[in-house]
Point group: C2
Chain length 119, copies 2
DNA sequence: AATTTATATGAATGTATGCTCATATAGTCA
DNA sequence: TGACTATATGAGCATACATTCATATAAATT
């Protein structure tokens, strides 16, 4: 407990809990990486792409047709997912087949599904 | 395979994969709910709050002190998390103690941790 | 080499959102 | 009741970002 107002200068602070939290805290780089993957999955287009890629690899055109979106939009989002190594691709002639490239994605999707189907 | 250009009018579409994806597709409401939780966890402030609330309940001031943020900012984010039922609170006098309110959050955090600690 | 196909990418734009600042409210204590 | 504490909330601003449109590139085909 300290003195004065605004921004925690005079509020009741439970030092024990705060220092306990500090000990268990994620490193900045860990927060950053975790955030990026959650943020990636927090967009409907990207989430649907990742969900669709479970089980089968698909080309940009497949995904665009499936989602009723432009190929450009899908390509942009696949780029985002690629940068995060969440997806990877394989070329066959002119076609690029995309697949999931991170085992954790499937795990996260599974937990999310349990969440949305009543939680 | 169809005819003409742009936005999947003339591209190679693997009908089988597309229809297969359609069958396994999440319902719109499921996509929406899953997206919201991922988006919620995709912000550094909120992620750190959720992480901190694992194990111990904390008041707004504790969290603000812990994160070095304004109480207002924390309160705004707690509101977001509350709306999604990811956290809940308990009043003790003037102090509101926040806690996690969704078992899936811990699961998601655990998977995310595995992800960031090399995956 | 020229065309066509499948995809990538850059710029522009509109919208979403995280924070700040100011103010409001619920509970406590004098 | 009035002052104070802990938190909530609304408006405003500045940034982030998802999509579109136009254009570029890589492989295949002629």
């Amino acid at each position: 407990m300290r003195k004065r107002a605004d921004t925690c200068e005079s509020r009741v602070i439970h030092e024990g809990r705060v220092s306990e939290a500090r000990e268990k805290a994620l490193a900045p780089v860990e927060v950053d990486r975790a955030c990026r993957i959650f943020k990636a999955m927090g967009d409907p287009t990207r989430l649907k792409i990742l969900w669709a890629l479970q089980g089968a690899e698909m080309c940009v055109c497949d995904i665009a047709a499936y989602l009723g979106a432009t190929e450009s939009a899908i390509s942009h989002q696949l780029r985002n997912l690629r940068v995060l190594d969440l997806v990877a691709n394989r070329r066959e002639g002119t076609i690029l087949y995309y697949r999931l490239n991170d085992d954790h994605v499937s795990d996260l999707l599974k937990v999310a599904l349990e969440h949305v189907r009543e939680g």
